[in-house]
Subunit: 79 residues, 2 copies
């Protein structure tokens, strides 16, 4: 059994209304100094050892990220 | 300027319908061997160097995560 993390973030050129909302709210709430907030998704998968990197890449690209508007990183982590 | 990543995941005892939906769909779509999928959020912040760890912890707990149902990790990353 292996643990895999897939981080999915909006591409830099894509507007990120959720992140912007957080960034704009912080000064109003007394927290200065945060210049940018981007919000994305994090997936944690448990996969059989038989699942290879190519399969993981395909799963991430097809089902976890939207390649048009998002960048993503797949990595295996220690259990 | 420092980069900070905040990973927010549903607590283990909390149902995660989004993750379960992905996990259940994968075998149907031809991908076997994924036994669990959990979906959370990833925030990437850019903050002034003057922002200390205590402030970051407060921001994460108050605005980025829901402490009742989510666990979170704050970490500074290399730019």
């Amino acid at each position: 059994m292996a643990r895999v993390v897939v981080d999915v973030m909006p591409k830099p050129e894509i507007l990120d209304p959720q992140g912007q909302a957080v960034a704009k709210a912080l000064p109003r709430l007394g927290f200065e100094g945060v210049t940018s907030v981007r919000q994305g998704k994090r997936f944690e998968l448990e996969v059989d050892d038989a699942v290879d990197d190519a399969t993981l890449a395909k799963i991430a690209e097809t089902f976890l990220a939207n390649p048009v508007i998002e960048d993503w990183v797949v990595r295996r982590v220690e259990p």
